[in-house]
Assembly symmetry: C2
Homo-oligomer: 345 residues x 2
DNA sequence: CTGAAAGCGCTAACAC
DNA sequence: GTGTTAGCGCTTTCAG
């Protein structure tokens, strides 16, 4: 069997040109057929569609988006696919179900040397062409007016600038700390989140406010930088637990560092919750699967994702950007118990 | 202040043309500077770089990928961002950490009318241009040779065709069934998965092999079609439990139907694990959060993602495609116990 | 009804 | 060293 006009060149994707040649029409005609433009003879249309099916042609998102205005794709820009981001992604995915939009999630800091500014970079690289709008997860810098509709989730700056969706971090942190206080803990440590995130600052503030309200002193020695990744938390947790008088409870700014704190404590022979109570923040899936299950502050990532989607679609429709704040809820599980010698109330 | 040559047109992304105009050089020169090609005067280079920074220019992924061969982006193609896919994504993300690759995850079936064939469509739309290679999560059809390096995770056809990564479904199912046998169960039911999935067939085979090895008879009456959705499982579970002599234990082909079986059993006043032991497969987050926690067979999604990444990078380097099978591990939780009147061993 | 031509933003030959 | 030219695959006027 020898190659004929119908055979696309091997090892290459099939382009609109291949279809045009096979159908014996111009590229423009194929384009019109595919996009349902009218002014095409019925016979031509049928023939072209036949070839399209036969060749398995599918238009290139890249080429199409270069030429057209809209792509029907919303972008979810993240620094990395960690639990927080992927959970959000699930919410976005469900909320977008049944709409005309596809989802393109992009982690663009992987190869970038600079960790700061990934969102600006990703947005510039994708915006205006590939995606019609973006949901940016935990941006670390203020986003420039780029002309691309944008919703920021849990932005480091708090509710300023473009549309934002975040959680009541302050209230959640207070609730977490008050829970520990109610259990009789008096020496409560805090594993601080990334200093450049407003959410982390608010969580620390909630911790301090709760202590203050209860008349407990704030001791800087009991606060350590947990960062936001497991590795960063190890040293911080160790620092807290290796104190001459270690805390009897720890409130961590996120679940990942809370879980790491539990691990570090176990390494030292401490038992959770008998020797140490731990509370996290986020309620990622691991929070319930770890042992013991983690008491934490739940922010409904699913709802945040959905809220972001609705706002973005609204912006597409010309409605104004808003700042939405969702409630946080304390979920008590097995990692917290009354302080030794103080049976709580 | 009036607009000058330095001002990009408002509301539009900044293009290489804007930079070229502002720097007073040609577009080609800017391109060379940005891509570090040599043969550019040091002074020119510095000036252009300055403008780039000043304007906040970032090259468009779309335009670049149209012209260039490689994009340094690996695609993860999914039908939808559900728990399984998202967990895999995390594995892929960690494995790609520190490499030169960015990750682009695409859910392209959202808007597509047809659910079947999403992977072919997504691959055609992105492959060859936007992404250098793809990891396809749970493809439902056999993928055509597209010229794009591809690794399929948990393909419905089993390890044939392109590179694949999957779990030891047979071994896992055997382990699950043997666990029930060891507990003293003799009348063990099976909730079968979707018949068109190779993984489901293997899980049933594992069940039968385990029975056989233990010298137990295979009774077709004890096997029902659980499908892959909760609703499908309801009737199947009911059929099993309403038998004149119901099974004392059930091995379900996935966690979702196992959990449904527990629910149906409770409806009938049976208690888990006292009156009925249940084992699932997958170890989804719900498996640990349901009551009682589900004994199940865990497949490490994280490891599967990482394995897929390594294989894909290997294919980029010209190494041959393989079929990798990861072990499955039985996780014993609260939903299984010794059969009544037979205390196991 | 259909096709030729222009151009989206960018890179790679090839000239100058 | 730098600019000119030609496209990547596609859509969109605008002529025929």
């Amino acid at each position: 069997m020898t190659a004929n006009a119908l055979d696309p060149r091997p090892g290459r994707r099939i382009t609109i040109t291949d279809v045009a040649r096979a159908a014996g029409v111009s590229v423009a005609t194929v384009s019109k057929v595919i996009n349902g433009r009218d002014g095409i003879a019925d016979a031509t249309s049928k023939r072209v569609l036949g070839i399209v099916r036969e060749l398995g042609y599918e238009s290139s998102l890249v080429a199409t988006s270069m030429r057209r205005r809209r792509t029907q794709v919303v972008g979810v820009l993240v620094a990395e696919f960690e639990p927080f981001a992927v959970q959000l992604l699930r919410g976005v995915s469900t909320a977008l179900q049944g709409t005309e939009y596809d989802i393109l999630a992009y982690a663009g800091s992987v190869s970038a040397g600079e960790h700061i500014g990934w969102e600006r970079r990703s947005l510039s690289r994708l915006g205006g062409t590939l995606i019609d709008g973006a949901i940016i997860v935990t941006p670390t810098v203020t986003l420039p007016e780029s002309g691309v509709p944008v919703v920021a989730i849990d932005p480091h700056t708090g509710p300023v600038g473009p549309a934002t969706v975040d959680t009541d971090n302050l209230g959640g942190a207070r609730a977490a700390t008050e829970h520990l206080i109610a259990l009789g803990h008096r020496r409560i440590g805090h594993l601080r989140g990334r200093a450049d995130l407003e959410s982390a600052q608010l969580r620390e503030r909630g911790y301090r406010e709760a202590l203050e309200s209860a008349g407990l002193p704030y001791d800087p020695v009991l606060v350590a930088d947990g960062g936001y990744r497991t590795a960063d938390s190890t040293a911080a947790a160790a620092a807290l637990l290796d104190l001459a008088v270690p805390p009897t409870a720890i409130f961590a700014a996120n679940d990942l560092s809370a879980i790491e704190a539990m691990r570090v404590a176990s390494e030292r022979g401490m038992r959770i919750p008998d020797d140490l109570s731990v509370v996290g923040f986020d309620d990622i899936p691991e929070a319930v699967s770890c042992t013991p299950a983690l008491t934490t502050v739940r922010q409904s990532l699913h709802e945040m994702g959905a809220a972001a989607v609705h706002m973005l679609l609204g912006i597409f429709d010309g409605r104004p950007a808003e700042h939405i704040r969702l409630p946080a809820e304390l979920v008590v599980r097995g990692s917290t118990a009354g302080a030794a010698g103080a049976p709580g109330r």
